[in-house]
Symmetry: C2
Subunit: 444 residues, 2 copies
């Protein structure tokens, strides 16, 4: 078999070739620190060339630095079983590294199991994490905690509250250089927006990270994403809430996006997450953080201190309605009568819905339901002063949300309702830029 | 003033400089064909360098070929008014050109008024069209007809039926090389998808075209888009329903997209329309059609004959629901009880909604409501066999729609309901590729 097709390149590939071992072989690897026995695994595409990976009998994968390997012995199947019974120990170097807290909500990090399930348990002691992604030891000392074990499509606003409270607790402990939140990717951008509003005036970065492909696949993005998130959480000079995921298909770069401006734009690609109407805040390549210059995004600097502005509550009585030709205005009437306190209309173009909706919208507005407008175009800015339709909607009392994406708008409405004293102040909050959800000051 | 900043370049700019006239001056232009009096207008960025444009007293803009201009005289304001009273005539060359029908629904083509209003009237006689966009005379003899004058956000499924019937009538007349439908851009992609299903087995191209910026602005895309649509309608070797709009910001290229695979992805940019999970079918540059090779899109060849498969009816009882964290399952119950016959769920990731929706979905499915799944990621393919959530949804009876975009899925469901004898055959139709709405045959 071809080593390169199993992900090995460079020093690792040469070493395997010298000892004539291939993926799937049982091997005993002699290192400076002792012997390890296991099965040679395919290597993540994203991994350093300086490591090989074997699966230990315990089921965990461990990376072994090529430079430390003295020899590799291929074992017959029976001997392999016996040898594997030996004690296995992974020595984690404990340099003076920045401390980072890892809060797991259901996104697996470098575990051998499906990333969307509770199987995250498999890789959550510190030593297990380092065993799975040995390069982590270069960046931070990680302190993991499981908060939730849930598919992200099952998360609700009350989970955002739990996560915000847990992040706040970690920050207020005062010992972490940054916080990582591992998360299923389906709704990671909604949670990121929620944390942006719930956790303001942050002293350190809070970085959400997930994986599009489970980590037992050679094409998994789990290891690279975790490495990028860790480097950014530990060492970036900015504070705030970010999402760290693959930047492209080249598989060596992680992009860090502002939590309110990021969207999952592909069902399966590793670079599914994109900043909307903005460039990512930073790229992380080989552990180096390259900040991207973007004047329209204002970022707070990392600072000392552990004080934050925590407003973790959300009011779920918000309905997101995407407009389409044939949309029945009775749906708006239903929303108003079913107890929703806010409607986010995902309109067409610059922020339009048909004139047939006007009476229902007027009724809803008169009944004290807040109605806001975003655009289903995704990119660009709602501008409701350009055409009759927009002006009519403004007269009805519909609130234009500029270039806020629908997902951030829905989350923000839930947060604004829970943290404002009345409808008028809720409306005012919706139009203020709080966390880069409105990306520049061009008049609406 | 700088001529180039008003859009003039090359031969036009030189000529204006020679006679010391600028935008806004009243001028008398002597040509081989006679004299024209009017006000020098800024030139569309997209226009040929070989023309200048003056606004005649009638309000229409006319392009004058630089090569035919003998002299330009700058008039004092008072003389200008008198001279403008002279007869104005634009000679349209009547070569042996392909005939193209232009059906207007409310999108203005090269008119001086707002493109989204009924003001389309202003430029709809053939001579007026040629006066506004003189280069048209190189491509086709255009036969215009006003069908509707409506903002596109006000269009309903019954308008799609009207448009389909009108297109069918034009094609069955047997004299047109292609059909152009001018349309407001807000819902142009929905109408395009509707025509794809309503008009099958087309012998010629049917090309929807609009403008993102009204044509009295120097940055208008109206003229270039109309030129691209006309060239493609008149001469492309393929048949079917397409959308022709700016390909990029360089302002010299029009992209032609398959009607079911196109989406408006920006509120205001001229290149707002993009093919999803596909490249555009063709680019049109300086009137030349460059077909793009894409194996996953199957296009019919242009053919002789005027027979088509016309199924113009739509059943509007379809609801599109975008999922979000906090989505209340009672909305699904409401849809089922309010008389909708189909629900298009715009789920997360590979096609998921929370487990809290399962009972409501089961009830809807049991009640004979068709439930289909698309992804709010926009790009990529729904794959519901990968995770528990997807498998549970499949067991409930939810129909995965592969990489069909939500907009095309909503339209298709309306069409399938109106043209199928029962729920089971409707479901079958939804999963069959009819008009490239499912872009390849990778198993779901």
């Amino acid at each position: 078999m071809s080593y390169s097709s199993s992900g090995y390149r460079g020093a690792g590939a040469k070493l395997l070739s010298r000892y004539s071992v291939g993926v799937g072989d049982s091997v005993e690897v002699a290192t400076e620190d002792g012997e390890l026995v296991g099965v040679l695994m395919p290597r993540y595409e994203s991994a350093s060339e300086d490591y090989i990976v074997i699966k230990l009998k315990s089921g965990y994968n461990t990376g072994i630095q090529v430079a430390k390997i003295k020899s590799i012995t291929k074992l017959p199947k029976s001997e392999a079983a016996a040898a594997a019974a030996k004690a296995e120990k992974v020595s984690v170097e404990s340099k003076q590294l920045p401390k980072v807290a890892l809060i797991s909500t259901g996104g697996t990090i470098a575990s051998k199991v499906d990333y969307r399930t509770g199987g995250v348990r498999a890789a959550l002691s510190a030593s297990e994490l380092y065993a799975s992604v040995p390069e982590l030891a270069n960046y931070a000392s990680i302190d993991p905690e499981v908060l939730l074990s849930e598919y992200s499509e099952n998360l609700k606003p009350e989970h955002w509250t739990m996560i915000a409270n847990k992040v706040a607790e970690k920050i207020m402990a005062g010992k972490y250089a940054g916080i990582i939140v591992s998360h299923g990717t389906d709704t990671m951008h909604y949670t990121a927006a929620a944390l942006c509003f719930a956790l303001q005036n942050l002293p350190v970065p809070v970085v959400l990270v997930g994986a599009q492909r489970s980590s037992d696949r050679p094409s998994s993005d789990a290891a690279l994403n975790l490495l990028g998130a860790t480097a950014f959480a530990a060492r970036s000079e900015v504070a705030g809430v970010f999402v760290a995921m693959h930047a492209g298909t080249s598989d060596d770069t992680v992009a860090c996006h502002v939590g309110t401006r990021v969207r999952k734009n592909h069902t399966s690609r590793r670079d599914a997450f994109e900043s909307i109407d903005a460039t990512p805040v930073a790229l992380v390549r080989n552990g180096a953080i390259e900040m991207q210059q973007k004047s329209e995004i204002e970022l707070a600097k990392r600072r000392s201190g552990a004080d934050i502005k925590l407003q973790p509550n959300f009011d779920g009585r918000v309905i997101l309605l995407k407009y389409y030709p044939g949309f029945d205005p009775r749906l708006i009437e239903h929303a108003a009568s079913a107890g929703y306190r806010a409607i986010i209309l995902e309109g067409t173009g610059l922020g339009h819905v048909s004139k047939y909706c006007f009476p229902a919208l007027q009724k809803a507005a008169d009944a004290g339901v807040m109605v806001c407008m975003t655009s289903q175009c995704i990119w660009g800015r709602v501008r409701m002063t350009v055409y009759d339709t927009g002006r009519d909607l403004l007269n009805i009392g519909v609130i234009p949300l500029s270039d806020m994406i629908s997902e951030a708008a829905t989350v923000k409405a839930m947060w604004a309702l829970a943290n404002s004293k009345d409808v008028e102040s809720t409306k005012k909050v919706m139009q203020e830029n709080i966390a880069n959800e409105i990306s520049s000051s061009i008049p609406i």
